[in-house]
């Protein structure tokens, strides 16, 4: 709109304040990772990197992070399989109950995690299944399917069928067409969906809390436990800083891919 100068100033100043509100806590997290003491007080007590050293020598958060990575990878792999095939079904077929299935797949992301968590906890109690890494993966997959599904479906809707028909007409088999024509065209949508799914699973606490066995300490569960022990607070800040640094390039990739998609949509249709 270009807009008037007043509009620019008013909205610009408000936006700046809102962004400041978003970033001041993040800034403090990073700052307190370098805290000299373990009391998060202001003014800043003094600068030190000792919490990073402690973090890097502490096996517990490392094991927790590794467990979270494994769970995120497994859930994302399952979500890719289920979400992609479902997206193909939605893009290529009309069938009875489409709306219901669509609603059911989005529900785990619309409803709060605590509902998914306690519902599955009741389910595993009823089926007398012991809580383990596997039950966490089941919970995570349930809410990750929709992330892949939405991304892939949005892409498939924009992919002209004629490209695949041309491939078939030129003598390629169905599998070859999939491998050499369809898959390359949906690749970025798959990556974007997978990145979202990995990120959500890695940071998930509400579902995980109810589905983790006694010795399944994921990174968020470790963090939640560490809050009770004030001596390790700056170590948690250090861990959060490391996570942020690792995820920054991933965010850039995901955002780039999703912008290319021309949509910031979280839920499709």
């Amino acid at each position: 709109m270009g807009g008037s100068r007043t509009e620019k100033w008013v909205f610009g100043a408000t936006s700046f304040l809102v962004l400041a509100f978003l970033y001041i806590p993040l800034f403090l997290i990073v700052l307190y990772a370098f805290n000299e003491t373990n009391i998060n007080s202001w003014p800043f007590p003094g600068f030190s990197t000792k919490w990073f050293e402690k973090l890097f020598h502490d096996p517990v958060p490392k094991e927790a992070a590794w467990l979270s990575v494994r769970i995120a990878l497994a859930s994302t792999a399952l979500a890719l399989l289920l979400g992609t095939s479902m997206a193909f079904a939605f893009a290529r077929h009309r069938f009875f109950g489409r709306e219901v299935v669509n609603f059911a797949v989005t529900l785990p992301i619309i409803l709060p995690g605590v509902i998914t968590g306690v519902a599955l906890a009741s389910f595993f109690l009823f089926t007398k299944t012991d809580l383990s890494t596997r039950t966490i993966i089941i919970g995570h997959t349930t809410f990750c399917i929709v992330l892949v599904f939405n991304n892939v479906l949005a892409r498939l809707r924009r992919l002209p069928r004629s490209v695949e028909e041309a491939s078939r007409d030129l003598g390629a088999s169905g599998l070859q067409t999939f491998r050499y024509v369809t898959l390359p065209s949906i690749r970025t949508a798959l990556i974007a969906g997978a990145l979202l799914s990995l990120a959500l699973s890695f940071d998930e606490i509400a579902v995980t809390f109810f589905l983790a066995g006694a010795d399944n300490t994921t990174l968020p569960l470790w963090i939640l436990g560490a809050f009770r022990n004030s001596r390790s607070l700056p170590e948690v800040n250090a861990a959060a800083t490391v996570i942020l640094l690792i995820s920054l390039p991933l965010i850039a990739i995901a955002a780039y891919l999703m912008r290319e998609e021309g949509s910031t949509r979280i839920v499709e249709e």
Binding site: S41, I110, V267
Partner: protein, 304 residues
């Protein structure tokens, strides 16, 4: 060329041909696994949650006794001098307030991103909004304890500027602290859908409105708001729903104030009363389904 795919060219060809010839079979293979997964690990689980809320727990053995009873719901609605109804009311009220705060904060930012700045800045600001989502939500919640605490940044700032004579403990461990923290962590979920909705409004609509003599306020009310509404509703669904279920912020910054998420978590955790927890969770579920059904009428779910 078939060799690329391995696994015997004849077989793959046969499968491929069979699937091509039978679209129903193809649909079944594509849809079956996902539908089965959602059915078992979501729908059946939700039904079991509702069933658990109608069962009882043996006081001595802590085993679930599968005798049908409405006792848990009776306790929710009338038990402990209305304690649980107050918890419910408090949570719904907080969720409503947090949603309104986020709409008020998100709208100007989304408008600035979508309609004022250049393409390059648009991308940068979009990134700025999503970056916080990728850092640990637990730590972001905890950061507010650092800000609002009696030794915290806010207190020090107010004392330094002379607004307060000594640090106040009034900022942390209450419902206001929970509301601020929730408004903070869910804000990006409000900004993104509103931004998407605003970005789609054709420039010509605004020009037409102005050419027809509408002032800034009229254009906002009659043109922008109706077109932005699906985005606002979509964001509200996320924020309201996330707030109704969260137990982390109340635990970390809320002090003693009980909310639904925390109460449910305790029944499934330390207090170990699954049937009563299931009743509270079912109440939350029903509230959210009602909320979703109302908002669905606005067509927001098609535009999320």
């Amino acid at each position: 060329v078939d060799g690329h795919l391995g696994g015997g060219p004849r077989l793959t060809q046969a499968i491929s041909r069979a699937l091509y010839a039978h679209p129903r079979g193809r649909l079944g293979l594509l849809l079956g696994p996902a539908v089965l997964w959602l059915l078992v690990f979501y729908i059946v689980a939700l039904v079991l949650l509702l069933m658990t809320s109608l069962w009882q727990q043996d006081v001595f053995t802590a085993d679930i006794v599968r005798d049908w009873t409405l006792a848990n719901y009776k306790k929710v609605f009338t038990g402990q001098d209305g304690l649980w109804l107050r918890v419910y009311g408090r949570t719904v009220l907080l969720a409503t307030i947090v949603t309104l705060i986020d709409i008020a904060l998100a709208f100007p930012l989304a408008w600035f991103m979508a309609r004022v700045v250049s393409r390059k800045w648009q991308t940068l600001m979009f990134l700025l909004v999503v970056v916080p989502l990728w850092s640990s939500i637990l730590v972001r919640i905890f950061a507010w304890r650092t800000i609002l605490g009696s030794q915290g940044v806010l207190n020090q700032f107010l004392v330094d500027t002379g607004i307060l004579s000594s640090p106040s403990s009034a900022f942390l461990y209450n419902e206001r602290a929970i509301a601020i923290t929730w408004a903070y962590v869910w804000l990006p979920f409000m900004v993104l859908p509103i931004y998407t909705a605003l970005e789609k409004i054709p420039h010509s609509y605004l020009e037409a409105s102005r050419d027809l003599g509408a002032g800034v306020l009229t254009t906002f009310r009659r043109v922008i708001l109706p077109l932005a509404l699906p985005g606002v509703v979509a964001g509200s669904i996320f924020v309201f729903s996330l707030t109704m279920g969260d137990f982390v912020a109340p635990q970390l910054v809320g002090g003693g104030s009980q909310v639904l998420g925390g109460a449910i978590k305790d029944r499934f955790g330390v207090a170990a009363d699954f049937p009563f927890g299931a009743a509270l969770a079912s109440l939350t579920l029903v509230t959210l389904i009602v909320f979703l059904t109302i908002t669905r009428r606005t067509g927001a779910l098609e535009n999320l």
